[in-house]
Amino acid sequence: MNTPCIAATGLTPFGRLEPADTLDLMSRAAGAALAEAGLERGDVDGLLTGYSTTHPHLMPATLFAEYFGLQPAYAHGVQVGGATGLAMVDLARRLIQAGAAQRILVVAGENRLSGQSRDQTIQTLAQVGEPVHEVPNGAAVPAYYALLASRYLAETGCSEADLAAFSVLMRRHAARYPGAHLTGAVTVADVLASKPIATPLKQLDCCPISDGAAAVVVARADRMPAGTRPARITGGGQAHTHQHVTMAPEPVHAGATQAAGRALSEAGRRLDDMELLGVYDSFTITLAELLEGLGVSDRGRAPADAAAGRFDLDGSLPLNPHGGLLSYGHAGVAGGMSHLVETVRQLTGRSPVPAPRGPGLALVHADGGVLSSHVSLVLEGAP
């Protein structure tokens, strides 16, 4: 059978990892993924890479291939912001289905924390804003999401304390997860008392900036060495509704709804079938909008669901057991891949924090921009 699968994963710790640079970090994650897969470099015939804000390059995949020691038959970079990692895996599975490659390495990483100043990072990321009508207002990514949060709180009646439930949950998960960037326990009061970034978002509503890398091998299960424990990719869907927040649709999370619908439809599954979630969480508001856009929670109810324990590791629908971007950390494209790595680990019995219910079916979702680009994947464990 040629159902594409994720055969192996690699994930570095996230945090301050100097003096490693972009290519060093990518190599670490790629090496770990190949080792877990039982593959040699020569077995890789496809390569997809993310971008690095600390190492911009016209040909990121070729650059990495030379550095790491690959001569793939197919290779290029992909750029859709935070959705890049899942978009690469969605593309890889389509390439596998088309017979264009057999074993594709998907890798991204960067020294986003130690390789540049915090202000440089914020300015680079502000490029997702509209250059004439948005950026001159002094808006950067936290401000765009703060505007979403302002709307959300006004519309739903939720409070800043309600949103803080996501910070508390992600930190609790990260505290038990090897390699997480931020592991100290936080309370709702800590979140509320943290310094304002762009109201209503405070520092603990925002993910940190981290160094790190992630990699996965996407392959046909029957083209992998014996003993491989793959997670099958049974559905994928995307939606790209806008670039700039001033052009966002109504409802603002419409892209999440569309992408998940497409992925679930292809997999022949219902949202209610899902037993595990990996959802992009650049800010607390990102989780609230995405969980509600995906249909996991009713409008205005995602924070309450989090506070009630629904998304705990032993809850009915565990979410980001590694601590997500909010606490495992955010190293650019690799940050968005960390949810996928942990989801595959859970489905294949490799997670350091196995969910008690032993999930076999998972939905992963990421957005890029300001809820602009969306990719959903449905992953399944052994049949």
Partner: protein
């Protein structure tokens, strides 16, 4: 990127948009064609900046100053009354809240950024197009 500074106390000009002569769709970023129907027949219009505040944030942490100076400063998303579906992102010199009716004016030589008038400007009868 260099941010031009502006005087928020100045009167400013009406917001400038493009509108499709074929389907009446309106948009902010000039491009000369309609992104909805594809027609190449777009007019440039100055419209009233009156609108409703959809969202507001006070930016405390910024990599560089805004057009009205360093942080903290206030940014609002305003739904334009004159062009349904069109939003302005605007700097607000005074406090504004979601739901406020405000007037957005154009400042600076590149047609941006915009400013939000305070809601109080409407109460004292100074609203003009």
């Amino acid at each position: 990127m260099t941010i031009p500074s502006i005087d928020p106390a100045a009167a400013g000009a009406p917001p400038r948009i493009e509108r499709c002569r074929a389907c009446a769709h309106a948009w902010l970023t000039p491009r000369g064609f309609c992104p909805r129907c594809g027609a190449d027949d777009a007019s440039t219009e100055d419209i009233t900046g009156v609108g409703r505040v959809e969202a507001v944030t006070v930016v405390h942490r910024a990599a560089q100053p805004s057009a009205v100076g360093p942080a903290p400063y206030t940014i609002a998303l305003v739904a334009a009354e004159a062009a349904p579906g069109l939003r302005f992102m605007a700097l607000a010199p005074g406090p504004v809240a979601v739901g406020d009716r405000v007037r957005v004016t154009r400042h600076g030589d590149r047609g941006a950024p915009y400013l939000v008038a305070r809601e109080a400007a409407f109460r004292d009868g100074t609203l003009e197009q």
